[in-house]
Amino acid sequence: MANANSEFDADAFRTGIRFVYNLAAPPVAEEQITFFYNSQLIYNTPVDGEDTPFDPQATVQRVAPRAVKNVPCGIEYFDAAHQEIVFGTVTASKIHVTLLDEDYQRVKGANYVVLGGEKYLYKVTEAPSGLFDVGLYVTHWTNENDT
């Protein structure tokens, strides 16, 4: 790998980072972050560009991908509360989730996460960075319910 360094132990680094991430995770399992993927709807009739059928009686097969839990990650919370905003402007609470490369591959493509009972929608992934041959990914998520 291009950035490999013989004196840098990538596995030990990952182990150490994951230890810190797990240390900072909520102790209640139900409050820990869970990554979800949108269900795939398969219709038995023709659909339009938004995958909506023309026949209102079309039958649908719903394929719900399994949610991903127990992913070590760092979470930063940005609260939009107590900020004056112009009426009609949406300023939602956000979280930034930092993942190691191997853990990012487990949750890549997730559509939303649930953390502490709150649902956050995926927005963007920053340009990747890293330390020698360990990649780091910072993903941005926006609270669905905040206005």
């Binding site: 009739t45 339009d48 560009g49 938004e50 023309f54 209102p56």
Partner: protein, 188 residues
């Protein structure tokens, strides 16, 4: 053009007209050499794209309204608000509804945008076909006549394009009316 003679009982007419217009514009543009980004690069449709530009991306919705990134050479075919139906003088129960049609073109540069818009304008002038029922595959014609008159077609540059960045400032819109003639549904 032949006016309809029987009730088609077409439910969700707006969507079927939209899909009919989308299929017509997309098929025509692919046939005119603008390619299809939804097909592999090795597909014959993308073998010799006009001006060696990027194959076109065809959408049924406005990309910015659906949170979809706008790709170079995007062609979005949409309908505007559906107006009230009008009674026509010819034939019993014959009605007319005029759907606004918008073809938004985000070309790679000025020349490409104008070239695509020119092809779209030409194909929307004096075109007549039946509305297609998209509940079946392949879509089947129904007894409703879709009319595109040359007097309704125009090419515009949206105001928002003036302040847009990168290739989005080459945004052009082809506007027309899709006149749909149909036999009104019987109401008891």
């Amino acid at each position: 053009m032949t006016f309809p003679g029987t009730p088609s009982n077409l439910r969700f007419r707006y969507r079927h007209v939209h899909a009919t217009m989308f299929d017509y514009v997309k098929t025509s543009l692919v046939g005119l050499g603008w390619g299809d980004a939804g097909l592999p690069a090795s597909d014959p449709a993308n073998a010799a794209v006009n001006f060696a530009t990027t194959p076109a991306t065809y959408l049924e919705f406005q990309p910015d309204e659906s949170g979809v990134k706008i790709a170079v050479n995007t062609v979005a075919i949409t309908l505007g608000d559906e107006p009230a139906s009008e009674d026509e003088e010819m034939g019993p129960g014959l009605q007319l509804v005029r759907f606004p049609v918008f073809v938004d073109i985000y070309g790679a540069n000025q020349a490409i945008s104008h070239s695509i818009a020119s092809d779209v304008k030409h194909m929307l002038e004096n075109h007549y076909q039946q509305v297609m029922d998209h509940t079946v595959s392949p879509p089947a014609p129904v007894d409703e006549q879709l009319e595109l008159d040359k007097d309704d077609v125009m090419v515009m540059k949206p105001q928002a394009a003036l302040s847009a960045q990168d290739f989005r400032r080459y945004w052009r819109v082809v506007k027309t009316l899709a006149r749909v003639h149909y036999i009104g549904d019987a109401h008891v």
